[in-house]
């Protein structure tokens, strides 16, 4: 068996078929989204669909090229590539022309290129190489910090220097990779807790309490924190009596405050913080009496929560105006016709598609440019309008199967490098899928990130092809290694 045949028989055709299907369906929808009354051909380079076709052809060539290259090359040059790319990202921020406030694009002749799109792939390679070392143990603090740095450095450059918050957020995908590779599950829970506390603090910070002074945000965040602390106490150390004492104490604090409030106005923000701190200290005392149950983590959580809530309100107020507004609109704190416009129009477009859609190229909302950014970040609204629920259902299901397939492939890898890289690929697609469609559906603030293989854009098409095919090649050659 020669090498060529070997690749053809060992490559995962399921992934390739899904990749091709998504790319072509995406391309069709770009044409549909940009289709107007005096439309040129789908191949004409004067419209986005024509250009996308060109990018697709280049991507297919790239894919072929990757399938020929020995995958061990990436492993070899991963660190160098990473270093070079970090420099490139920084340089980009300084030479880029301002595109709608973003400094992520560099122009090479007539082409525009976004190094940040490729950075995901290179970071994944670098991470995989570092974590794939034989002596790697994630429970060593150094082995946790270095991977975190590998992820955070490009992320911060992209967010702070290039001002591409959306692309930077994608790097959060690596948290899931670290989790799979053994990072404590508490980190994920901490992440969930952080999101919940952030949302609660922001959403209710504007609502004044009906008694005393202070706002509902602090009160609810505190009660949630204390409740979690109580649950953890019960679960980790089965301290039923102590938990009841804590609950009684907290009730007493609030009760006294309410009574005092009759004569003298009480600041319930302070009461809440004090009550939370007291429960934190209480758990700390418990942890000295019941060692080895991990109760100290609860104290860390409680203190962390207090600090986080205080910080999050402060940070939120320091955010740039447009980002703050987007968050407020998503949390339904404020209404803003301008920001809601995109999402509202997208909903109208999707909803008007009904079950079977209005037919390819027949979407009025699309045709008449009601949904901004429709061929890029809001491409799913075109699918929704023209292909209806059948279309959106197909897109979501195929995406889910695609990601599950990638997880399956990652799991069957025989070496750490391939597995970690594979999980990186799966998680990057997962986060793009989640944020992009979540944003269009109004679950998340409007963050400009593409839906891979659907959204218009050369850099992203090439970047995702690169990301995927390196893994497919790694997967195809996995047997050779043994």
């Amino acid at each position: 068996m020669d090498r060529r045949n070997n690749i053809i028989s060992s490559i995962d055709w399921i992934c390739i078929v899904m990749y091709l299907a998504m790319s072509f369906f995406g391309w069709m929808n770009i044409y549909g989204a940009t289709y107007t009354f005096d439309q040129t051909s789908i191949f004409s380079l004067s419209n986005p669909a024509g250009k996308q076709f060109l990018w697709m052809c280049l991507s297919f060539l790239l894919a072929l090229l990757i399938l020929i290259i020995d995958p061990r090359t990436y492993q070899t040059i991963a660190y160098v590539l990473y270093a070079v790319w970090i420099v490139l990202l920084i340089v980009t921020a300084f030479i880029a022309k301002d595109t709608k406030g973003s400094l992520a694009w560099i122009n090479i002749g007539p082409l525009r290129f976004q190094p940040a799109e490729i950075a995901k792939c290179i970071t994944a390679l670098c991470l995989a190489k570092w974590m794939g070392r034989y002596e790697y143990k994630i429970r060593n603090w150094r082995d946790l910090v270095v991977p975190l740095l590998i992820v955070i450095v490009p992320m911060m450059i992209i967010m702070v220097l290039e001002k591409e918050t959306g692309t930077a957020l994608v790097f959060a995908a690596f948290i899931l990779v670290l989790y799979r590779e053994g990072m404590s599950g508490y980190v994920l829970w901490a992440g969930v807790a952080a999101v919940v506390l952030f949302v609660v603090s922001i959403k209710f910070s504007g609502i004044a309490l009906p008694f005393g002074t202070g706002n509902a945000g602090v009160l609810i965040a505190s009660l949630l924190t204390i409740a979690v602390a109580c649950i953890l106490m019960l679960k980790l150390a089965q301290l039923k009596r102590e938990t009841l004492i804590l609950i009684g104490a907290i009730t007493l604090i609030y009760g006294i405050s309410l009574i005092v409030n009759i004569w003298h106005q009480v600041n319930f923000n302070i009461v809440s913080i004090v009550a939370t701190a007291i429960s934190g200290l209480f758990v700390l005392v418990m942890s000295t009496q019941h060692r080895g149950k991990g109760l100290w983590l609860v104290t860390v959580f409680v203190i962390g929560a207090i600090v986080f809530c205080q910080l999050s309100v402060g940070i939120f107020e320091k955010l740039p105006q447009h980002q703050r507004k987007r968050i407020e609109v998503t949390l339904k704190i404020k209404e803003d016709a301008g920001i809601e416009y995109n999402v509202k129009q997208a909903h109208i477009a999707i909803g008007s598609g009904g079950f079977t859609g209005k037919g390819y190229k027949q979407g009025t909302q699309t045709k008449l440019r009601f949904v901004p950014e429709q061929h890029t970040d809001f491409i799913i609204s075109t699918v929704g309008e023209e292909f209806g629920f059948l279309g959106t259902f197909a897109v979501v299901v195929v995406y889910m199967l695609f990601i599950l397939r990638l997880i399956y492939l990652a799991e069957r890898q025989k070496d750490m490098f391939s597995q970690i890289y594979g999980y990186s690929v799966a998680c990057i697609f997962l986060i793009h899928f989640t944020i992009n469609i979540g944003m269009v559906l109004g679950f998340l603030p409007v963050i400009g990130i593409p839906l891979p293989f659907y959204s218009y854009g050369g850099s992203s098409m090439l970047g995702f092809t690169l990301l995927l095919f390196i893994f497919l090649k790694l997967d195809a050659t996995r047997v050779e290694k043994l």
Binding site: T36, F37, L176, Y179, R180, E181, G182, G185, L188, Q345, H347, I348, A349, I350, G351, S352, G353, G354, F355, T364, Q365, K367, L368, R369, F370, P372, G384, E385, G388, F389, T392, F393, V396, V397, Y399, M400, I403, L404, I407, E411, Q413, K414, D415, M416, Q419, Y423, A426, C427, L430, F433, T434, I437, G438, L441, F443
Partner: protein, 607 residues
């Protein structure tokens, strides 16, 4: 397998993926299948329903002459969003011939918070009702001004300065109209009075709709479904009136400077040939931009031109009523053509005679000389016959009988089956009215209500009713509901009076004698046998009202006329010549007595 300790964690990541996908599918399901409002919202988003206004029906006179037609007017609209920062305001103002300050003021108005319909993405009305000349220059250079467009609509225009009250006017719909009829939307036009109101549904046509696709900036991109669902506007139907515009003009000219009314009817058909009410106005005044200003001026005019005196004003008919009175008395056998009554001239009691003539006098002479005592005796005999003089019951029955015959001539009630919108019913008093007036059924007698005998008492008629009464006489006992729009089905609206045919001949003879020997003798028309009756009704504290009814030709009536001129003097001097000239115009198509015409036309009672 590697990293087996954490193998289970694959299921966490798999689970997250599946949960996200399920949430998304659920949301898409709710958006696309459950919530069906999006469809409508999308349509209203993208489909601009442009109303296509039908042109209103034209109005012709009985001879096919165009009276009312449409003139195009132009509105200038602007879409602020498209005008852009580099909009050539100075050039735009120059092309429209307005100054900068006016432009600023108007745009401020549009943008102000009071204007709830303001939207910078849609057309806003900048200037309305401009003429073709006003916008000629703009039309040629429109391409220079993005966001500006010209919208064509139509307004009424009139060929003759005549018949303002009959034709009525067209104005913008009120909120009430919109609430009552979903056909209308704000800014639509509707017939506000006259024929325009009564025939609104006939004249307005049906609005059409053009569905256009517009993009998010309001720019029209093309037709929705290639115009498949468009609906063409259906033009309103034309109307042919029964009016003879020449006759109408003559009537209005003769009433110039006076207050009063002149009505002419073709008795065989009930068609109204002329319906003039003075003072009147140029119908053009209630068109377009100055409509509301002029309307308010007309409404506050002390002479009340908006009040259509021909159908709405009620007058005591005076001696013109004696024609009908004679017929009722004949019909009730109170008199015969040969019955004679004495007249002592001015010394007559209880009613004096205003004319000097021989005594005793029979019906013909009484009509000819308009003898008041004759009609008082006749009325008295009618009311007191069969013992009515002593028996209240009989008296009241006699009165009711008189009243019902009078009403069968079309008096005391509106013409319910007519197309005239504004009418008064006039008054033919009921017994209960007198009971109330005189506080008891036994407190009034023939002599109490004697003024009725000569048309001066509580009897009140509109000029139209008076003319219709003449038509009933002309037709020997029936009339066809007077109407304004040509419609053959109206011929079946025959109303027979309770007066026998045989009594009419003598009354007509009397009327002819009025014109040959009597009060109307100066206004006979050459070669035309004409009948008439003058009337001079006293008005408290003012000059008398002059009245006249005429029938011509008396042997084959083609036209009947009723004229009422307020506070001017004798019916014989003022109303008779106006009626006579109108009849001449209608029957001979010309007026030979130009001197008489000028004289009557130029005498004005109003300042």
């Amino acid at each position: 397998m590697i990293n087996e300790i954490y193998y289970n964690r694959r299921y966490v990541i798999t689970g997250i993926t599946i949960v996200v996908a399920v949430i998304f599918v659920a949301k898409f399901f709710s958006l696309q299948i459950i919530d069906r409002k999006s469809k409508d919202r999308a349509d209203s988003n993208a489909i601009l329903k442009q109303t296509l206004y039908p042109s209103r029906g034209l109005i012709y006179d009985r001879n096919g002459r165009l009276l009312v037609y449409n003139q195009p007017i132009y509105d200038v609209t602007m879409i602020f969003n498209e005008m852009g920062k580099n909009f050539d305001t100075i050039g735009f103002c120059q092309t429209l011939g307005i100054d900068r300050a006016e432009f600023e003021e108007r745009t401020q108005q549009i943008r102000s918070k009071k204007n709830r319909s303001f939207n910078k993405y849609t057309s806003q009305l900048f200037l309305s009702q401009l003429t073709a000349e006003d916008i000629a220059q703009l039309q040629q250079t429109l391409y220079k001004f993005p966001g500006i467009s010209i919208r064509k609509r139509t307004l009424r225009n009139y060929s003759y300065i005549a018949a303002a009250q009959v034709l009525g006017s067209v104005g913008e719909v009120s909120q009430q109209h919109i609430d009552n009829d979903s056909y209308y939307t704000a800014g639509d036009y509707i017939g506000r009075d006259g024929i325009e109101r009564t025939y609104e549904k006939h004249l307005r046509g049906e609005k059409g709709v053009e569905k256009l696709l517009r993009d998010s900036r309001g720019v029209i991109q093309g037709k929705y479904k290639d115009g498949e669902e468009d609906l063409l506007a259906v033009s309103g139907s034309n109307l042919t009136l029964t009016l003879d515009i020449d006759l109408q003009l003559i009537a209005e000219q003769l009433l110039e400077g006076k207050t009063g009314s002149a009505v002419a009817i073709e008795p065989k058909t009930g068609e109204i040939l002329a319906l003039a009410s003075a003072p009147t106005w140029d119908p053009q005044l209630l068109v377009g931009k100055s409509r509301s200003k002029n309307y308010n001026r007309l409404a506050s005019d002390p002479l009340k031109p908006l009040f259509n005196r021909a159908t709405q004003a009620t007058y005591p008919p005076g001696s013109t009523f004696k024609t009908l009175q004679a017929l009722v008395c004949l019909s009730e056998n109170a008199i015969t053509p040969y019955t004679a009554f004495p007249c002592s001239g001015k010394a007559s009691k209880p009613i004096a005679c205003t004319h000097s003539h021989g005594s005793p006098v029979t019906l013909l002479g009484a009509l000819e000389q308009s003898c008041n005592p004759y009609f008082w005796y006749a009325y008295k005999d009618l009311l007191e016959k069969d013992g009515g003089w002593k028996d209240t019951k009989v008296f009241r029955r006699n009165y009711e009988r008189w009243r019902s015959i009078v009403m069968s001539a079309g008096l005391g009630q509106k013409f319910a089956d007519s197309d005239l919108s504004e009418q008064s019913s006039g008054t033919i008093p009921t017994t209960s009215y007198y009971d109330k007036q005189y506080r008891g059924a036994n407190n009034w007698r023939a002599s109490t209500i004697r003024s009725n005998s000569i048309g001066q008492g509580e009897v009140l008629v509109t000029p139209l009713q008076l003319c219709n009464m003449a038509a009933m006489i002309a037709n020997d006992g029936y009339y066809i509901t007077p109407h304004l729009v040509k419609n053959d089905s109206m011929l079946s609206h025959v109303h027979k009076s309770n007066i026998d045919k045989r009594h009419f001949d003598i009354v007509k003879q009397g009327m002819e004698r009025v014109m040959t020997f009597g009060t109307g003798r100066y206004y006979q028309i050459e070669n035309i046998r004409m009948g008439g009756k003058t009337g001079t009704a006293q008005v408290f504290n003012k000059k008398d009202n002059a009245l006249f009814i005429g029938i011509a030709p008396i042997d084959d009536p083609k036209i009947v006329v009723a004229v009422v001129v307020e506070n001017i003097g004798f019916g014989a001097t003022w109303a008779a010549p106006i009626a006579s000239l109108m009849i001449e115009q209608y029957l001979t198509d010309t007026i030979r007595r130009q001197a008489l015409f000028e004289e009557k036309k130029n005498y004005h009672t109003n300042q």
